[in-house]
């Protein structure tokens, strides 16, 4: 069945360093939609960015990701981490009728 695999657990970064959170997926669906959601403390998840176009970079709020169907990947990147980026990040895959979420990666940015 469909699945989403993310960088496990906690990623701790020093402010100013680049961010890369990995996401790979498996699906039999030929046109998957991939999403990144961000959940800050005591809030609910909200969309960060999304894509369904192969090899096209999508950007929002300083973050970017490119869907690569050849490698089934949709990694989240940012050139310079900020303290306010500390949050839980979910990668999600549309599998036809609903979005299936990965296990989430907690990003902690420290001074």
């Amino acid at each position: 069945g469909d699945s989403v695999t993310q960088t496990e657990g906690l990623v701790t970064l020093t402010e100013g360093l680049p961010v890369m959170l990995n996401c790979t997926y498996q699906t039999i669906y030929s046109n998957p939609f991939l999403f990144w959601y961000v959940q800050h403390l005591n809030e609910s998840p909200r969309l960060l960015l999304k894509s369904f176009t192969d090899n096209k970079r999508t950007e929002h709020q300083g973050f970017h990701a490119t869907l690569h169907k050849s490698s089934s990947s949709f990694h989240l990147q940012k050139s310079s981490a900020q303290l306010s980026d500390s949050a839980l990040y979910y990668c999600a895959l549309n599998s036809g009728t609903y979005q299936r979420f990965g296990t989430g990666t907690k990003l902690q940015v420290v001074p």
């Binding site: 939609f33 609910s44 369904f52 839980l88 999600a92 036809g96 009728t97 296990t103």
Partner: protein, 113 residues
């Protein structure tokens, strides 16, 4: 912009009791969902409704039952709660069946003693 409204915010109950959670969206979306977020922050689909019709019913215990009166409302009833039901229940809506952005409510945190 809060457009998916959930009540209550918190609920504490004892094993065996019945609970009900409400969700309303004012976005005019056709599809609504219930997701469960457990203590490890795993986010799993429970149910999905499209225009009042149940379209997804993942493997959840039979004590869980969704109810939809119209496309703007999706409630969740848990008959005879168990300790493992302690979690945050997130309601969400989207314009279509999962290919578009999910808009989440603030969640209902359930604690089962």
């Amino acid at each position: 912009e809060t457009a998916v409204f959930q009540t209550p915010n918190y609920h504490v109950t004892q094993v065996g009791n019945e609970v009900s959670f409400n969700c309303k969206q004012t976005l005019g979306h056709d599809t609504m969902y219930w997701y469960k977020q457990d203590s490890k922050k795993l986010l799993k689909i429970m149910f999905s409704y499209n225009n009042k019709q149940l379209i997804v019913n993942e493997t959840v215990p039979r004590r869980f039952s969704p109810q939809s009166s119209d496309k703007a409302h999706l409630n969740l009833r848990i008959k005879s709660v168990e300790p493992e039901d302690s979690a945050v229940y997130l309601c969400a809506s989207s314009p279509d069946r999962g290919q578009n952005t999910l808009y989440f409510g603030a969640g209902t945190r359930l604690s089962v003693l």
